[in-house]
Symmetry: C2
Subunit: 299 residues, 2 copies
């Protein structure tokens, strides 16, 4: 096979790749647990070749996004500061000879607030590009979830919330987790957490109520993790900014998407548009690749 273009979403824990034909259709795909943390010998070229080598005779452009462009990755692709227009991501993509073909690494995006404190994303900008949203708020929930403001297709500003990492820490490592038991999702407990966090900004006090709800038996052990999830997502929504009534989209699938779709209306937002993360990654990588091909006179 000699694909027209190859896209790789190369993150901390995993990598996924797609081969596209001239029409932009996917003709092959693969995934490996070879995120940058797993490439301990630094031989990214070998890892890439093993996954995508069969898709190219050597001349296919390979577009890579995600943590592969971080300081801990293959080659650092410096952050583009906000605002970032879609075409800027392709224009600033960092060329690299991959050994399997000509490569480009998509840069991350940074934002500096009035006090000079930075925020950063890497990988989400590809999904945002792929989602193709013109205006509004876009949420990318996760370990370090993002709230992104898009205007005229450009990333205007954004903010990262440690919601996912805090949930995992508190569930698995804190005193709160000791009272929890696995079980089916308890949406009532989740809703209670969302509402409390939306109405009370003292999150570090609310977190202690996970313990007292468990000790008092008011919330069952099987429901405590959902109550905690509700508190953290509610706090994120309370702090995320924006005005209910604006267009709002969530790039997520499954249970995570369901949690945000359920929680946002508690704060007066409409049900958000849901966008699958993998589809957004594919569309974003393809869009960057097509822009690069065009610039190179090959598109």
């Amino acid at each position: 096979m000699n694909a027209a273009m190859i896209g790789v979403d190369w993150g901390t824990s995993n990598m996924r790749g797609w081969a596209f034909d001239d029409a932009g259709e996917i003709v092959a795909q693969a995934a490996r647990p070879s995120g940058i943390n797993a490439v301990t010998d630094g031989d990214f070229a070998a890892v890439l070749r093993e996954m995508v080598g069969g898709w190219t005779d050597g001349g296919t452009p390979i577009v890579m996004g995600g943590m592969i462009g971080s300081r801990q990755g293959w080659r650092e692709a410096p952050y583009l500061p906000c605002p970032v227009r879609p075409e800027a991501l392709a224009a600033a993509a960092m060329p690299i000879d991959t050994g399997t073909g000509p490569g480009w690494i998509v840069p991350g995006v940074s934002r500096v607030d009035a006090e000079g404190v930075a925020d950063v994303m890497r990988g989400e900008e590809v999904q945002l590009l792929g989602a193709g949203i013109a205006d509004g708020l876009v949420l990318l929930p996760g370990t370090h979830g993002k709230w992104v403001r898009i205007e005229g297709g450009a990333i205007i500003t954004f903010r990262t919330f440690m919601t996912g990492e805090l949930f995992a820490l508190l569930k698995d490592r804190s005193l709160l987790g000791r009272l929890m038991a696995p079980g089916r999702t308890d949406w009532d407990a989740f809703d209670r957490g969302v509402d409390r966090a939306l109405h009370d900004p003292a999150l570090t006090a609310l977190l202690f109520t996970v313990r007292t709800e468990g000790l008092s038996g008011r919330t069952a052990p099987e429901a405590l993790a959902d109550y905690l999830s509700g508190l953290l997502i509610g706090a994120e929504i309370a702090g995320g900014g924006g005005t209910p009534g604006e267009r709002i989209s969530v790039i997520a699938t499954g249970k995570l998407a369901e949690r945000y779709a359920r929680a946002l209306p508690h704060a007066g937002w409409p049900a958000p548009e849901l966008i699958a993360g993998e589809a957004a990654s594919i569309a974003g990588l393809r869009r960057v690749g097509q822009a690069i091909l065009k610039t190179a006179g090959r598109g």
Copy 2:
């Protein structure tokens, strides 16, 4: 020795004991790493006897406070609901034959909010009694720090903040901790954290700035833990309630007391009165003991 009274502060990790004479002076003291979590065989009587047995001929009243009265302790001393007047703690102390002499376990204190969610303290109520504060806010910083409102000497209401546990989790177990290095206290970084948390309620977003401050080199690795500490203490003060100008006291010593004494004025509070926790525990146990002796006609 045959002391007039023995007081024991028996917590999760440690126990400390004091023998008092008729005048209430300390005539002996001891400490053991025998908190309730360490007494795996449940033989609390033996642990107590080993520490205080030499202070009594068998008839000395032994007053115990802290987690020893929890469900996981020797005997559960049910929580007294707020408001709790000082004399109520002695009146509700749970009698127990310790095997070393007549014992009493001081109850904890609970509070239920408008939505029915409980908060609890156990051990702090003894310190509050010992501090003898008539009116105002009293802070007991720590793993699960308390903000307590006192009126006419009674515990009116209180709230628990997970500040200390969150700090330890985020420093030792999260991605944030990976960028940190040990060093001398960096008060500038601490102040910056306090100010940011006082002016921005989105704590879970602010926490991510510990990472970006480190990645960008704006804050040195040695100062990141202090910046994190400032964020969490600032968030606690922002959510603690009360009105700057009220009397405010902090039951703590050393670096922890210094952090709160430094942070509170950032929110417009005066420098708080500082009270040593051990002195407050001693005074509180003695006060309960004297009330019990009086009731028993021995005081």
